[in-house]
Amino acid sequence: MNALKQYIDLFDEYRDLIEAQSPALLNTLRISAREQLETAHLPRKGSEDYEATDLEEVFSHDYGVNLNRLPFDADPGETFHCDVPNMSTCLYYSSNDAFHSSPTAERNIGQVVVEPFSMAAVDYPELMTAYFGKLAHMSDPTVALNSLLVQDGLFIYVPDGVIPERPIQLVNIFNAALDMMVQRRLLIVVGKNAALKLLACDHTQSPDYRYLNNQVVEIVAMQGATVDYYDMEESTPLTSRVSSIYVDQHEGSNVLIDGITLINGFTRNNYHVEVNGEHAETHLLGMTIASGEQHVDSHTFISHNAPRCNSNEMFKYVLNDKAVGAFAGKILVKPNCPRVEAYQGNRNLCGAPTAKMYTKPQLEIYTDDVMCSHGSAIGQLDEEALFYMRTRGIGIDEARRLLMQAFVADVIDGVRLDVLKDRLHFLVEKRFAGTLSNCAGCMQTCRPNNNNQ
């Protein structure tokens, strides 16, 4: 069995249609993607870097693919309604695989470019050509698959020296009335001494269909740029996500990536950071709260290719019921990179005997005079603390909730966006209390979606 075969066949049959519906730049990658996939296999559980995760199984389902670019939901802003005006973001939507802007998008007008590839290819052909597909590794079959079938994407560009007033919020919604796979694709270029705060929220509005988001994100942080990328998933048990984020950090850049999984079905998050300039700073944070049969696998790779850089990595998991968590993190310090400081931590709480956690920390260092460490721990709730709380009248369930919340509190406190930090504390509280509604996550209140009923 090879799940890729069905997508290759699809491509071969509909290549003209796919290419006709896409900007020309996207078509340039398809040949090499097709070549890669010819001999590629999706990793099965147990293969290298996939100790707990079976991608073949995830992709083998018969998903619909929207090759004709039919609009499902003309205006997702109609069904998603902003509930917290104070958040003051510039809001963009993608429903299934199509992008939409909202009236709030104009808040940063003249400062930041946020355009679908179809427009950006016309407006910024040089930037698009210079950076699209340059960071992502086609050797990863999911990246090759994305490149083979992708027909649009979102381009975010902050010109040199621009520090936008407001964060950008991208709300990705699955609401098609059929099982569906989409190839989401982001290209983010933040210019010299510029800054970007981006909050991406993945949601699923229709809990009855199986969706797969096969996503590729490329981020270029130029000299002195600051990039905050908060990537939050709050979907459904039938939603799968395979996300690969590639980052290129230039001298003095400061990049924070925070991957948050509150509710999902199956998720594999790959983070690949190349630190190419001196004095660059990398913060990689992850927080997973999983119950039921949720599956969350994070794979991180930070390559220190330049001296005098810092990286800080902390991933925390709270697993209950039959949830499965996996973390594999590798820090590479290349030769001739003195004074690198790189720290990696992975701490996990298994709240039930049926929950499983797999963890694999790795350091590979080829330079003397560096400071690196890694630590990994899997534990249970502190029995003494539980009893102490119970003697004060706090019931066992409430006590467990408070301790689980406390466990992830420091990862939330690493968020560099105050309003999001407060919101996350609130959301996590609701998540542990079991009262998190599907759409509460991105400061949106979900109205009933009549389109699909």
């Binding site: 502190d382 029995e383 003494e384 603390a385 009893f387 102490y388 709380m389 119970r390 003697t391 004060r392 009248g393 706090i394 019931g395 066992i396 409430e398 408070l402 301790l403 919340q405 406390a406 466990f407 509190a409 420091d410």
Partner: protein, 252 residues
């Protein structure tokens, strides 16, 4: 208020309590003394429902209810409080959140509405002053980074907040300097009324200078082997435990 009859308990198959009998009435202060390893802390753990211990016999009645049938949290709601010998640090849970949850769980147990934020903070302020607990400590995580004295004062602060009917102070004097001891003792005395009772577990007479007991019991090898008035504490301070040990051991 509290009637303990022939209470027996073990931990990991090791019998610690071998038949405790004790009756506490409202308004009374009982001191339980005894050498190390006699079962003093086990008694407090069993009464508050620590799951590490197994009750192997006997009964405990608390205000007419079968105490041993209640969960630790319900025992707290019914008015039982333990001041821990080693208060537990809970990083990430703020004192305010901890106390508010505790109070509101109790109110829920009695079918009352949760306290408003304003009323709660007012109550915190009021009770904090009883043990001179710094406002900064109240806003930090539970016991995290507190000094020994601050932890014990924090225990009495929680006691003031929860207004228990029966408080067990398990070696509340250990690790305290004289000033902290006075503050803690005066806090306990302030909270004392004719309707509530206190069991003081201690090694030393010192604390009993400040918290005057009505009865003093000596616990040895899992049994109360001697009970008398406050003068017994003075005698123990003077003569140690050996004479009691000899007396008990010769009878066996």
């Amino acid at each position: 208020m509290l009637i303990i009859k022939d209470l027996q308990a073990s931990i990991e198959d090791k019998q610690i309590l071998k038949g405790i009998n004790l009756t506490v009435k409202p308004g009374e202060v009982h001191a339980i003394m005894g050498p190390n390893g006699s079962g003093k802390s086990t008694l407090s753990a069993v009464l508050t429902g620590n799951p590490a211990y197994t009750v192997t016999g006997g009964s405990v009645e608390f205000n007419g209810k079968d105490l041993l049938a209640l969960s630790p949290e319900d025992r707290a709601h019914e008015g039982l409080f333990l001041s821990f010998q080693y208060p537990v640090e809970i990083p990430g849970v703020s004192m305010v959140n901890f106390m508010r949850t505790a109070l509101n769980e109790k109110r829920k147990y009695f079918g009352q509405e949760p306290l408003s934020a304003a009323d709660f903070l007012k109550l915190m302020r009021e009770k904090r002053s009883i043990v001179q607990l710094d406002n900064k400590l109240a806003s930090r995580a539970v016991n995290e980074g507190f000094s020994g004295g601050e932890k014990k004062r924090n225990e009495i602060f929680q006691m003031a907040m929860l207004e228990p009917k029966l408080s067990i102070l398990d070696e509340t004097d250990s690790g305290l300097d004289i000033d902290a001891l006075r503050i803690v003792a005066s806090g306990v005395n302030t909270l004392k009324s004719k309707d509530n009772a206190t069991i003081v577990i201690t090694h030393y007479q010192r604390l009993l200078d400040y918290i005057k007991p009505d009865f003093v019991h000596v616990l040895y090898k899992g049994r109360i082997v001697m009970s008398a008035g406050p003068e017994l504490a003075l005698e123990l301070e003077d003569k140690g435990y050996d004479w009691i040990k000899e007396q008990v051991d010769s009878q066996q």
